[in-house]
Amino acid sequence: MVGAGKPGFVNADFQYLEQAARQTRRRLRAVQLWQGLWQGLALGAAIWVGVLAVYKLLPVPDVWPRMALWAVPTLTVTGALLQWLGRRTLAQTVHWMDAQLALKERLVTAWELALHKAQHPWAPLVIGRAAQALRQTPWQRLVRLQLPRQASWAGALLVVGFALLWVPEYRTHAWRERQRQAQAQREAGRELVAFARQELRAPDLTPDLQTALREIEAIGRQLSELTLPPEQALQALAELARRLESQARTTADSRGTEQQATRTAGNSNASADSTRAASVPALSSQPAGERATVAKSQALAAQDSRLSPTAGELPQRSDPARSTSEGARLGSETDRPTASGLAMSGLDAADAAALTALAQRLDELAGALEQAGLNPAEQQRLASELESLLPGAATSRAARQWLQSALKDLKAGNCSSASRALSQAASACRGTGQSQRLLAASRKVAQAAACVGTGRSWMECSSAISSAGGSSAGTQPGGDLYNESLRAMPRPAGLAPERLVGPWLPGTPMPVLRTRGEALQTPANVAIGEVTAAATPANPQAVNLDRIPRAYRQTVRSYFDESQP
């Protein structure tokens, strides 16, 4: 009780005044909470509708309207809490009652006199008259819980906001293209990073391969974070793809040379020691599980390759024998696996993993043949296992030949020769696997370049690059993809290229396009200067057309700029 301790004549009227002030303050607080809630809702709705309207008109980030939507409940709660926490003193409440009841500061004067100047000679008179005036007013009905003015605003804004949800966003075609391009680049980057990380987990990676994979991961990260402009990204990707394929070719060539030399030497020692069967008992217990493991890995690899084939890969996967024979045919001229042959065979990183597992198993078998003498039954079991491993080595012609040689030696009882042949087969598998990994990486990079260059999705580029890869006779990985994508672009009938000579890669010279067009049968009688002068003003407009992929515009622009008489 605030007035406790005051003179009795003050207390009687002052208690009434104080009671009225306390009740009014309590009700005011509830009303403030109620009003704060609606004010917050109105403000939040206004923000949401504003941001939504901006989002519908301008290409602001998608997260803006979602965040603005969160402002509605947040501001509603905040507004209510702020109003609830904003306490007013009893003196302020009394003054507010004065203003509302038009009591001309009677109450607040009485309040001040009672609290601070109770001995003032005017205090009893002032307090008594204030209480009397208060009794004559309907102060109990002063504070009412009713919908504030902001409620109608909040409702209207929410209706407008929900209506706006059905209005489509206005976006320019150029903006959509940029978004598609950025999305494609981001997706390509993510795919490259995932691929590189997955490959880096594989065992037996050479330092070169690890370096290449880390480089892929780095460029993938840059792509996903959009820190590289498309033109620079394309140049970097093309360069990396070329380097990877070059490495693959180098690896395959060197491996083939080594194997050829070793095979020549190995044939001269064909009658080597046949007393190596000491490890057969161990093999007899192990092969069942090992063979199962190998078979399983092969099956898994095959399944994996079946699970994620692209549209273009399916025909190649459906006929592995044909692919293998084509690869073998390309390598038959030098009797070694070539990069082109490997590329033609359509192998990928999964096959490389299977080859690595196969090489490991072959090494174990060779070691077993070296160390233990084998009885005929065990030789027979081993031979049958080797026969079962033959399909797994189909992707490497050299490995298969070495396996067949080992099988022949084993059947002839020449365990030592068979062991060496198995080691060579394992080495061939590893080399092929290494080359295959590099090629797979090269293909991924080329696929990423295709995505960045054309703005298409990863899956679309995968289809395109797979379908184009089989017929690629050039030396640029993914080069045909660019050509394919260019061919797929709509052009006037007379300008569809009949033949493309040279790669179409960013950063490289323009390829020669031969179009059907109309041949000039007679000498021209218009000076070239006049022609170019007439065409020059139209060039920028032509270059700015959205039909030209963004990644190529600079190249095309430079081409036109340089074509001066």
């Binding site: 904003g86 001309k104 500061e105 607040v108 001040e112 006199l113 008179l125």
Partner: protein, 336 residues
Amino acid sequence: MSPSELEQQIESFHRAVTALRAEIGRMLVGQETVVEQTLIALFAGGHVLLEGVPGLGKTLLVRTLAQALDLRFQRIQFTPDLMPADILGTNLVIEGPDGRRRFEFQAGPIFAQLILADEINRATPKTQSALLEAMQERQVTAAGERRRLEEPFFVLATQNPIDQEGTYPLPEAQLDRFFFKILVGYPDEAELVEVLDRTTGEEPEPVRTVLDRSTLLAHMRLVRQVPAPRPVKDYAARLVLATHPDHPSAVPLARQYLRYGSSPRGAQALVLAGKVRALLHGRLNASLEDLQAVAPPALRHRLILNFEGQAEGITPDQIVSQLLEQVPRLRPETVG
């Protein structure tokens, strides 16, 4: 003082005011606002500057008031050749019965209780300034000697609008010492007819004295006891601060057209006048409404226009009106 005694005093005050109004009303037609503001200044112990063109009853009002009050009255007609000594008094050489000559102070008309300074702006600033000390400190320094003036001491000055010929504007320091500056306007048609009736007919009865000096002093002490709550004082402070062009809370007109805002005397005048007005209206406390009612006469002569304001023809009353419109009556936390 018991509540009943207080109520008796308040009742006595109301009777005195009613009697004064009645006597003034017998002589002066209309001008209720002018009369009320004059009475407010009178009970607040403040000086009044009445401004209006000749013939509107300014001098009549003061003369009637002087007659109704039992106070010593002096009238000083300000002219351009009036000298300070003519107001304050001077030492004269007096020859005594013994034939010796000595200086003797001859008091000027300022030594009265109710001074009518008629057409104060027709005197030179030097003469106008002779009133400064008397108005503020209720004393006069003449011939090196300080002499107290008798309480109560009121100066009711009249002046013609400053754009009239042969006028000298009052200096700011002089203006600030006036409690109120009251503008006397033209009567309306009905009032003018009444004026004609009264002045062209029989001589009216002389004004009766209705309030003696001691009662007036008691009433002056009473009105100062009227409580003014904190919100009212806050409002007065806000009003005065809003007249200062450099203050953050200044209203736009003040910011643009004022050179100087009101002095603290303006706030004092607001609250004191508010107290008197509350009591005049039967209330026991000053209110925001009282302050709003007395703000124009209390502030208008304390607002010094800048050149732009004078060139644009802005009047201080326009700025006061904006003050009353824009300065919040309640503090934001009270409004909630």
